[in-house]
Symmetry: C2
Subunit: 153 residues, 2 copies
Amino acid sequence: MKLGRLNHIGIAVPDIDAAIAHYRDVLGATDITEPFDLPEQGVRVCFVNTPTQSGPNSELHGTQLELLAPLDENSPVHGFMQKNPAGGQHHLCFEVEDIAEARTYFESLGKRILGPTRIGAHGTPIFFLHPKDMLGQLTEIMETPKEDAHWSN
Amino acid sequence: MKLGRLNHIGIAVPDIDAAIAHYRDVLGATDITEPFDLPEQGVRVCFVNTPTQSGPNSELHGTQLELLAPLDENSPVHGFMQKNPAGGQHHLCFEVEDIAEARTYFESLGKRILGPTRIGAHGTPIFFLHPKDMLGQLTEIMETPKEDAHWSN
């Protein structure tokens, strides 16, 4: 296994519209995607695109911030929000070339995987690894979107 | 203010050598800097360099993971470790062009700044913003290292 790109960090927020205003008006983000519901994950989601490098003319292909608000009390993010009402860092997401191979790999190391492989917010297959097996980090593993893949370079 | 590069995410860990082994052996990181003590911050630190894009020949200029272990019980990370003994996400760090200007900007918005501007782990000036004013996120602001700066592009 070779470390892939840090695709995004998941940030739980109590209110997605307020969070968008914060990232735009306080931190100066210029490219935030429209929020959408992801009912399979129990969350409303949008992405803050960050600059690849600092400067006025940078591309916006840096690690994304994924803002997540729980859709309801059954959301997996609901418990996190109970403990962190103001919001906070929720997970890290690394890319892999092949999701099935990655699943087999982590299983072979005895790492607990939370539920089945499913389609994530980027439209590619993902799974989550248990934070207790990952130094306290809820860790998402996602297959690189085809348009971004450079695995065979 | 325009959002700068997401320079790194700070990850608190109980033991830096065990964490290095985890990132190398489990997640497949190939470039991890030698750990060093940063007594002004009360932490022992190293950086995991992540790929700019997924694939075998990528540069390693993606958002870094900063692994932080408390140096002693007076460390600002000590309290975090008491609450999260396995470790976990500790802070986010965004780059700015000019640290003094950024400090004035956040002060003008009424955001609480934790202590004086000081030299951070990358050798450039930094300060921290209070998580209660930043949607629950302890947020570090750092001046872009000179060799990485593209602000005037």
